[in-house]
Symmetry: C2
Subunit: 274 residues, 2 copies
């Protein structure tokens, strides 16, 4: 297991952690200045801007791009909308390739009929895979915590995500393992081992008690109950050697703080609690 203490270069900052409070170029500078090794960007930060300039800025700053967030949800009530969602994801994949992102995060969406939604998701990912291959970008399927099954994702466990990965059988489809989404699962050790060689990304944050708003009240590592080092040990034993990405949605706390403060504390906590 890698020693992370004083190694912020092994850490990537998902820009959502900083609350989208500044233009992307300023965010890039702050993350580089704090000594991190990479970042993950959101489409909303790139939209309408010069991607080449952003890419050059990131490269000049010495940062990797771990991930690009995130897919448009696949399931829809009409075939026209389903096709539009896939087309939108194809556009995003091109953006991810331009940015040199290691992965494009698949948060897949859901529907009232979960079986049908799941079938639509598998079909949609299957349609994107040839483009992902051609562009050399990995699709990173992210199982979400089951609390989001009604509104964000019909893929709610690592075992289920791995089954989808097995079914599609393409090396450009991997797993995005986020401790916030998977820490509760009694089978997580078994399933992370099963994901060996297929882990496309590893996200950390913490589960606060009480959790409050399950969507936008994630905790900084060390402030909650997740045994992050235990999960990281499993992920590294399964062959993952990429950057560890900090992703904290926190409208009431971290998003209200100055970026430099959040980054300073994230760096400390990364060394101590990840």
């Amino acid at each position: 297991m890698r020693d992370l203490k004083d190694h912020p270069e092994l850490c990537a900052i998902n820009t959502a952690t900083l609350g989208f409070q500044a233009p992307v170029h300023e965010v890039i500078d702050e993350i580089a200045r704090a000594g991190f090794g990479g970042l993950a960007l959101w489409r909303r930060e790139v939209d309408g801007q010069d991607i080449k300039a952003i890419t050059k800025h990131i490269r000049d700053a010495g940062l990797k791009v771990t991930g690009y967030c995130r897919s448009t949800y696949f399931p829809a009530d009409t075939m026209i909308q389903r096709r539009a969602n896939i087309a939108e994801n194809a556009v995003a994949l091109h953006e991810a390739a331009q940015l040199g992102a290691e992965n494009f995060a698949l948060v897949v969406g859901t529907g009232k009929d979960l079986s049908d939604a799941r079938a639509q998701v598998i079909d949609g990912i299957g349609q994107l895979l040839p483009l992902a291959r051609a562009l050399g970008v990995n699709l990173a399927l992210e199982p979400l915590h089951p609390v989001y099954a009604a509104d964000r994702s019909c893929v709610t466990s690592l075992a289920q995500a791995l089954d989808i990965c097995d079914q599609l059988g393409d090396p450009h489809l991997g797993m995005l393992i986020d401790v916030y989404h998977l820490w509760w699962d009694a089978f997580v050790a078994r399933d992370i081992a099963r994901a060996t060689g297929r882990i496309a990304g590893f996200h950390v944050s913490d589960w606060l008690v009480p959790v409050g708003d399950v969507l936008n009240n994630r905790g900084m590592m060390g402030d909650g109950v997740i045994d992050i080092p235990a999960l990281r040990a499993m992920v590294e034993a399964a062959g993952y050697s990429g950057l560890v990405e900090v992703e904290i949605f926190s409208t009431q706390n971290w998003w209200k703080r100055p970026m430099a403060e959040t980054l300073r504390i994230a760096k400390e906590r990364f060394g101590a609690f990840v």
Copy 2:
């Protein structure tokens, strides 16, 4: 699959649905008057009262007692506290037997070290089983929704609960299947089939969107996204033929309504959406 329309006698009301707003004898009368077939009680309603009188009242009203709620959490930091929790559960099992309850609901608790908490839970259930056998009360292990992993239960999926059941291998340990806790699981059909012959109870309510307070904002059947009939079909195909229990924690809505109104609507919805 049974036809529930105009068959409220196949429905039990978990008294938590009514918000604990009246003394237990009044609650019993209301449930019987509405035509339901049974009820499930909570320890807080029985505490300090004459259990024999309550039992006689229930029997005279023609009601079954499906469940008795619920276990004291098993995991604790000290051995003394662990023993006290088991002793408290033994007392509750005696109460359940006096009431003629079909099952004693095991909501098991949790701990920061989930593996250790799970080991304590298995040990604790194992210690209660001889008494359950002697008293003829089934222990009904209830996997909770993973959103409660930090504060209420380290058992968060049916597959996990079935593994515990397999490990302890005792016919007095069964599964309590609650749609609110399990509807999100991609493997629920497989696991309910695996639970054949071991289903000790079946609870219904609904998952509202947005869910809001995940603990105390459950919905009435038909107001949310859960495909309850699909789950009931699986449960009945797995051999369950007991009453279907309505359990709705809803501090902001149903608990504020008169009991008769909640019961009237529950009866309608039971026939239409369960």
